[in-house]
């Protein structure tokens, strides 16, 4: 009997309409534990080398983990992996809400999708069965409208829908997968992959609740979540959500401003968590934000999700499209020099309606704004839109044009790196991308170990792939659980900080394989620490895993992602940071004058490779490392790897 997981993986070939169910052995689940690691197993097995990201041959894996759907905070997350149309590297995006748990209840742990349907379809997974249905009438609809229509025609308000919006249909390279009309598997263009397959949505419903191996222990861990609330501060975090970090980031000089030219935004208080809560969440007029302005994921007590509503004016916004996270407040806000909260809320809603990643969208616009400021773009390029820093009107207009691929939006829909290749004129000097993915709102100049993760992460710059530098000193007891006992001085970029980056990356990677929330389980501020994560896994599955095994799952997934890139001929040459981070000192505030030293940074990258057991010259994983993680099959089954993994 399987505990926690259903033991069933759905395989869908959209070209042939063939649907199969695979029932892997327990060892398979123990090896990968779900999520991104499980998805990579299929991507590496089923995609040919050199696969075109938007071709039928690309494989999109949507995977839950072994604890998804159990009644404890932070477990309802879904991983999506496929080759990325934004970066040409492996793509990976995580998202939460109610869809992941409901997918488990529908009777499946994961769905592996390949091929291309001749016409738009949706996949209906329910009560252990699955079928493809016509979606011609849904094509072109916004996410909110399509979700309403599906609920109406399936006569069930409790279905959950993971879908693409018009941006995914239009193959915007940073299109997202959206559920609940406001939760995103945002990064690396997974929405464009789904769109290229003519798959509008995956719709799930079921009643198959996971069985828990040790209910008594599980109950204890549920209670621990309540006990941990106050000492970890997660109750306050729930109140203000991720936007809570906006002003602290600014104070440390780490709030990306004017396309990463400064770490300090003079108007940060106008876009911070308290302002959002006090004046913009639904219910704020009656001081009822807790009831109407906060939302959550399945069985999560934190309620960190924002709900905002604007009743009138140019930025009228429907509450069904949620509210902005910190990343969104920064990318559409400080990145662009914009402090108009209503405009940011509206841009966030547009991204959720049309299905786009708010980070890449806002950062692509801020890149265009810098190009405009430097005279590299003019109104001739933009069709008359003045892309000036601070122009909320231009930012909102451009967001919509990108989703629809209209006018200049057609070029920006390619992402900033490809757009700079199209435009030329030295616009590449203003990029803030790694591997072609726009940088999230944490600054490598301020968080130095994160700078190496931004560059070396297989799916491009990412802020949830490791703990950030200040956490090493701030949480010594928790860091000790994963063998980190030697915190370094601020701004240090030495071997110990690379060890911190790598070990916490392994834990974050395990979190994305178990498909649990990085705000609930982790090595620093989270509700549950690393050892408690192990206890949750054991209570649910009945396994006797430990932190060493959990870290190895994370390392296994990281090496699978890395090996995918190696197979595609992508190695050390792609592990880079934007030029400006080495050349242009930050201006103003606490980080005034901060700039990365290229020589010091390259040495740190090499330290990181050595610790990972990756080849320092090429950046490829070593054969020894792959074998030690049980990944020799990856090398054996991918001929292109045998030349580079040695």
């Amino acid at each position: 009997m399987s505990y926690g997981y259903t033991g069933k993986i759905l395989h869908v070939n959209l070209t042939t309409s063939e649907i199969k169910v695979e029932e892997p052995e327990e060892q398979f689940y123990r090896t990968y534990m779900g999520g991104s690691a499980m998805g990579m197993h299929y991507v590496l097995k089923e995609t040919p080398a050199g696969v075109e990201p938007l071709s039928p041959d690309n494989v999109l894996a949507l995977c839950t983990g072994v604890v998804t759907g159990t009644p404890i905070s932070g477990q309802s997350r879904l991983s999506s992996v496929a080759k990325s149309p934004l970066t040409g590297c492996i793509g990976d995006a995580q998202g939460g809400g109610y869809f992941p748990a409901e997918m488990k209840f529908s009777g499946f742990d994961a769905v592996i999708i390949k091929g291309k349907s001749p016409k738009p379809v949706y996949l209906w997974m329910h009560h252990g069965e699955a079928e493809l249905r016509d979606a011609g009438h849904l094509w072109g609809m916004t996410t909110g409208d399509a979700e309403d229509k599906l609920k109406e025609e399936l006569e069930d308000k409790r279905i959950e829908v993971l879908q693409i919006g018009p941006a995914g249909e239009n193959l915007v390279r940073f299109a997202a997968l959206i559920s609940m009309s406001n939760r995103a598997n945002g990064r690396t263009g997974m929405g464009a992959v789904m769109g290229s397959k003519n798959l509008k949505a995956v719709v799930v419903r079921g009643k198959q609740k996971p069985t828990i191996a040790n209910p008594e222990k599980f109950k204890e861990l549920q209670k621990l979540g309540k006990t941990n609330l106050e000492p970890t501060g997660m109750d306050d975090f729930g109140k203000y959500g991720t936007p809570d970090v906006t002003s602290p980031q600014n104070k440390s000089g780490g709030l990306p401003t004017y396309n990463f030219n400064s770490g300090t935004f003079e108007k940060h208080e106008e876009i911070n968590g308290k302002t959002l809560y006090d004046s913009h969440l639904r219910g704020h007029e009656r001081d009822e934000q807790n009831r109407f302005g906060r939302d959550t994921c399945f069985s999560c007590q934190i309620k960190c999700k924002r709900v905002s509503q604007i009743d009138e004016g140019p930025y009228k916004t429907d509450a069904k499209y949620g509210g902005p996270e910190y990343e969104t407040l920064a990318t559409f806000g400080s990145y662009c020099g914009i402090s108009n909260m209503d405009a940011i809320i509206h841009a966030n809603a547009l991204c959720n309606m049309y299905g786009m990643d708010t980070i890449s969208c806002g950062a692509t616009i801020s890149w265009a704004m810098e190009c405009w400021a430097e005279g590299k773009l003019t109104s001739e390029d933009t069709g008359g839109i003045e892309l000036k820093y601070g122009s909320a009107e231009a930012m909102v207009k451009m967001t919509e044009m990108i989703a629809k691929r209209e006018g200049f939006g057609k070029i920006l829909a390619e992402g900033s790196q490809k757009a700079s290749e199209i435009i030329g004129r030295g616009t590449e000097d203003y990029l803030i991308t790694s591997k072609g993915q726009e940088a999230p709102a944490h600054m490598p100049q301020v968080k130095r170990s994160l700078s190496v993760i931004y560059a070396a992460n297989p799916f491009g710059a990412d802020h949830e792939s490791s703990e950030h530098d200040p956490a090493y000193k701030a949480y010594p007891e928790r860091m000790e659980q994963i063998g980190l006992t030697n915190p370094q001085e601020k701004l240090a970029l030495n071997e110990e900080m690379m060890r911190f980056a790598m070990v916490t990356q392994h834990l974050s990677s395990a979190v994305d394989s178990l498909s649990v929330c990085a705000f609930i389980f982790g090595a620093s501020f989270q509700l549950y620490d690393a050892n408690q994560l192990v206890e949750v896994v054991n209570a649910v599955t009945g396994w006797d895993t430990d932190i060493t095994e959990i870290l190895a799952v994370g390392e296994r997934r990281l090496n699978m992602l890395r090996a995918f890139n190696s197979r595609e001929g992508i190695g050390r040459e792609s592990d880079t940071l934007p030029k400006k981070m080495f050349k242009r000192p930050l201006e103003g505030g606490r980080s005034d004058g901060y700039v990365l030293d290229e020589k010091e940074w390259e040495a740190a990258l090499e330290d990181y490779y050595r610790l990972c057991d990756w080849d320092v010259k090429t950046g490829h994983p070593s054969l020894k490392k792959m074998e030690s993680l049980g990944l020799d099959w990856v090398v054996a089954e991918n001929e292109a790897l045998s030349h580079v993994v040695t």
Binding site: E230, P231, T232, G233, D236, F237, K239, Y240, T242, P243, D244, V245, T246, S247, P248, Q249, K251, N272, G273, K274, E325, Y326, E327, A441, H442, H463, E464, S466, E467, H468, P470, A471, K473, A474, Y475, T504, A518, F519, G522, S524, F525
Partner: protein, 77 residues
Amino acid sequence: MKINIELMGSLVDYLPDSERGQSVLILKDESTIADLLSHLKIKRRVIVAVNGDEEKGLEYVLSEGDEVLVFTVISGG
């Protein structure tokens, strides 16, 4: 003695709303960081920087005019 205090992020709720996270507090002489946190009723894990130095422990004795910054560390967002 008087100390100048600034609370970051959600910690602003530990001071009256009108203070917007910044205040001058009057504490007994020889109060420690632990006394300060207890005065503010902060029970969660926080980082306290005194005059820009984050190394001071809970037993550090504050002095008249100290600039105290209280914040939390979250990876991500």
